[in-house]
Symmetry: C2
Subunit: 198 residues, 2 copies
């Protein structure tokens, strides 16, 4: 499968998830969003689970590409991370609908090693990003001393919580974003005024 | 229905949720756990949704009773809250299985006003408890100044995140508990050594 086809199938999967939710997702519905037959879809992906595994890999790759921040300044890298986490997955995204589907996938993780592995990889990548920036920021004297792994785990835990709150309580993620940024300011002694691109 | 019957049905619902998960929960399975017929169960509850609404009210009441802390000391009230949140729901609880079922209910909240209302009530109660203790602790000079509502929302968001991490990543909630307690120490200037029951 060429990159263009793969990208089109991933976009169709995203749309089908947003429209029908995870519980009612079928390969027929993904094929419909793609504008091709179910047979054509099954030529590339044997099962719905294989398709969803690829989709979770695709999400992880998208997130990676957003983190590809050239800046050496750990303060900028931390801001880029927060932007990447709270940005919609697709440009035309109804991000609430996608958040709903993603929480259904997380709730199904106990029943699927495939989902669990991908979610664990995404989680590890998020924590590494924050911990790396915190560590470098402390070394460079931008941040006050803190345990980089603890700060990272707490920030990512709060991000996980923001996701549940958006879905289960219909709370805007901007509430949690403000609190997470405030926590980073307090924990690291960040002065927002000094944060300029390197 | 007398209190004893209600309690027995609630315990049966909890067990059926832990054994079968939310997606495969049926009134037949709840009746089986209760040890009575499905007809007997439907005599009290018309639908599965009505039963689950009652079950969520029951959870909220259980949580309330755990918070019934006589202490006037806001430091003790905050500790009681953290204990209540991280304790198992039932004495014989397999708390991981219950966490799985509860995340499925949260993921279904966008499709059910009943679930959403109950989850919102539980969330509000949790935030009020933390905010009240923080406010009183600041007034009494135990805690340094902080915005009580912001501290409460951030703590409850991290608790929501701990719940997702337990289910989707199989992470022990004790990790998040340690970080939440550390956050409260830092944000409020709590000195653990001074925390003795009033």
């Amino acid at each position: 499968m060429n990159d263009e086809t793969r990208e089109a199938v991933m976009t169709a999967t995203h749309r089908a998830l947003c429209t029908h939710g995870f519980a009612d997702l079928t390969t027929q519905r993904i094929a419909d969003e793609w504008g091709k037959s179910k047979a054509a879809l099954h030529y590339h992906y044997d099962t719905k689970e294989e398709l969803l595994r690829t989709f979770l890999d695709h999400l992880l790759a998208k997130f990676e590409s957003r983190l590809a921040c050239e800046s050496a300044d750990p303060r900028v890298r931390l801001d880029t991370f927060v932007d990447a986490v709270f940005a919609p997955v697709e440009a035309d995204d109804d991000s609430r609908e996608f958040a709903v589907a993603l929480l259904e996938i997380k709730a199904q993780a106990p029943y699927s090693e495939t989902y669990r592995d991908r979610l664990a990889a995404l989680d590890e990548r998020m924590r590494e990003t924050v911990a790396g920036a915190v560590r470098d920021g402390i070394e460079a004297g931008h941040f006050r001393h803190a345990d980089p792994d603890d700060v990272a785990r707490f920030v990512v835990t709060a991000i996980n919580g923001a996701h549940v709150r958006e879905v289960a309580l219909d709370e805007s993620p901007s509430e949690a974003r403000r609190l997470i940024e405030g926590y980073l300011d307090d924990a690291l002694g960040r002065d927002p005024a000094t944060e300029v691109p390197a």
